[in-house]
């Protein structure tokens, strides 16, 4: 355990220093992730006004709270690994990772956390600014917040495991843009980004229940907003646990057979 802490700390520090060199680029790449929730927040607020005040159980202030928290949850749980892995494999860069006496996912997790820590200086002020611009209906309870943090932590790992597995598809094909885009499209609908899950048609809601997207984003968001009953919270944590385990097992499987296929092109 001590060994892991020291390794993570080392990875974390190098990633932090490395990424600090790209701070402007990092800020620019965040625009999209900040703008998207604002776009859908505006769309749904407009719809709510047109309907005389609310859509389903959401008033404009509820939408504001929903999308501000969603922006934060998405920021803290997303990874870019699916877009970089094929490069790593094609360029033979993966060889460096294989030489280290530790599973390469640890370096990636540490790098991701370093990025999140660094971009916190942008995302939190943005959230505060949006708070004043959109006046959300957001109450803060310390207990809810603690449970929310737990759900957020699991969501991060779960999403990371699943996306890391999908990234490994690059061992077998060099064209994973199509797969990435399908994953992204499903996520747009099923994780509650286009609309809160309650507002989607019934069939899509059923699909959302079965797949991981909802449990990675919509669940922590609704939890934080205090929209879930105790039963729903328990159910959510169960689904998170299931998908976390599934992701973990999938990584073991794909990684082992993938590395066997890897031929270190370019080195």
């Amino acid at each position: 355990m001590k060994h892991y802490t020291a390794t993570y700390w080392a990875f974390f520090k190098t990633s932090l220093l490395e990424q600090f060199q790209y701070r402007v680029a990092m800020a620019i790449w965040m625009i999209g992730r900040i703008l998207e929730p604002i776009i859908y927040l505006t769309v749904w607020t407009t719809v709510a006004h047109a309907r005389g005040g609310s859509v389903g159980s959401y008033s404009p202030a509820d939408f504001a709270a929903y999308y501000i928290v969603l922006m934060l949850v998405n920021q803290f749980t997303f990874s870019w690994i699916m877009h970089t892995y094929d490069f790593r494999i094609r360029q033979g860069e993966l060889s460096n990772f294989l030489l280290k006496p530790i599973h390469p996912i640890h370096a990636d997790i540490a790098e991701n956390i370093a990025y999140k820590v660094m971009t916190a200086v942008i995302i939190f002020p943005t959230a505060i600014l949006l708070y004043f611009l959109f006046e959300p209906n957001l109450a803060f309870h310390i207990q809810t917040f603690a449970v929310f943090l737990l759900a957020l932590g699991i969501a991060f790992l779960m999403r990371f495991f699943i996306e890391w597995t999908l990234a490994l598809v690059a061992f077998w094909t060099t064209r994973n843009e199509a797969i990435n885009q399908m994953y992204f499209t499903l996520g747009l609908f099923l994780s509650g980004r286009i609309a809160p899950i309650d507002l989607l048609p019934g069939a899509i809601q059923t699909l959302a229940d079965a797949l991981p997207f909802r449990w990675a984003i919509a669940f922590p968001v609704e939890l934080m907003l205090g929209r879930l009953s105790q039963e729903q919270i328990l159910n959510g944590f169960t689904m998170q646990a299931v998908w976390l385990l599934a992701g973990f097992l999938l990584i073991q499987l794909t990684w082992r057979s993938g590395v066997k296929k890897y031929s270190a092109v370019g080195s």
């Binding site: 402007v24 680029a25 620019i28 790449w29 625009i31 999209g32 703008l35 998207e36 604002i38 776009i39 505006t42 769309v43 749904w44 407009t46 719809v47 047109a50 309907r51 859509v55 389903g56 611009l133 064209r175 843009e177 199509a178 885009q181 399908m182 499209t185 747009l188 609908f189 286009i194 609309a195 507002l199 989607l200 048609p201």
Partner: protein
């Protein structure tokens, strides 16, 4: 005439380049169709809860989506790749070769890269637009059609000039390829009518990153809500930006020293 011939030549080179990678066509087609499907499903969800959005009917937003895809396709086919190429050339000193050609450098730099597979977005966008118009019973007269064509051209020129100015910055600050990404991100906001956004965002999307003139204004022309004011603003801004970006480009050129020479 000479310029048209050049455009055609670059287009042919684009076709020849891409013919070697035919699978890319299917990947691009799949991506374009996925994008279209996503957009239409998103529209369907929103309009399952309402009849109008900021005064726009579903079919008008569908037409707007057509314009969004069409303009996005043009940007993705010529403007974005050419401007990225320009930045790369300046960084590596290869821009010397563009300067030594007996033709206007701005023109050459603007069409140097053509990704023909992005035609899928242009065609799909045009298809969606036409489908929306047919669904409405083809209720537009020659006046609306003319106004649409006019503001689409001015809006397109505004986008081009804006993009050119961003790319021209490369003459002073070499490594800024990420700046183009600002535009790509902001462009996403254009798939909904600009009018629904809060004032500060509307302002940004109109004057700082002029998405409004390229998408919302032409779509307004089709649904008969184009005001003379926005038509005049679009033409004025177009004239100003074309002149200014040209001047800015010439200033930038003077700063170019050729990294390899």
């Amino acid at each position: 005439m000479y310029y048209l011939k050049l455009i055609w030549t670059f287009f042919r080179i684009g076709i020849l380049n891409e013919m070697a990678y035919r699978v890319n066509f299917y990947v691009q087609l799949l991506q374009s169709l996925l994008n279209l499907g996503t957009a239409i499903a998103g529209l369907a969800i929103v309009f399952s809860h309402t009849d109008t959005l900021g005064g726009w009917q579903a079919v008008d937003i569908l037409a707007l989506l057509g314009v969004f895809m069409f303009v996005g396709g043009v940007i993705g086919m010529v403007i974005n790749p050419s401007m990225s190429q320009l930045m790369d050339d300046v960084l590596r000193g290869l821009f010397d070769y563009t300067l030594t050609k007996p033709c206007d450098a701005q023109f050459l730099a603007s069409i140097s890269q053509i990704r023909i597979w992005r035609l899928t977005d242009i065609l799909l966008g045009a298809g969606v637009l036409i489908a929306a118009l047919i669904y409405r019973g083809l209720d537009i007269g020659p006046r609306e059609a003319l106004a649409f064509a006019f503001v689409l051209c001015t809006g397109g020129s505004i986008i081009y000039s804006f993009w050119l100015m961003l790319a021209t910055l490369t003459f002073w600050f070499l490594r800024i390829e990420n700046i183009l990404h600002i535009f790509q991100s902001m462009y996403e906001a254009g798939r909904w009518p600009i009018g629904i956004y809060p004032h500060w965002l509307r302002y940004i999307l109109t004057f700082l990153v002029p998405v409004a003139f390229a998408i919302t204004v032409p779509a307004e022309a089709l649904s008969g809500r184009l005001t003379p004011e926005s038509m005049v603003t679009s033409s004025l801004l177009c004239a100003i930006l074309i002149a200014f970006s040209r001047w800015f480009w010439k200033r930038g050129l003077k700063n170019y020293s050729g990294a390899s020479a």
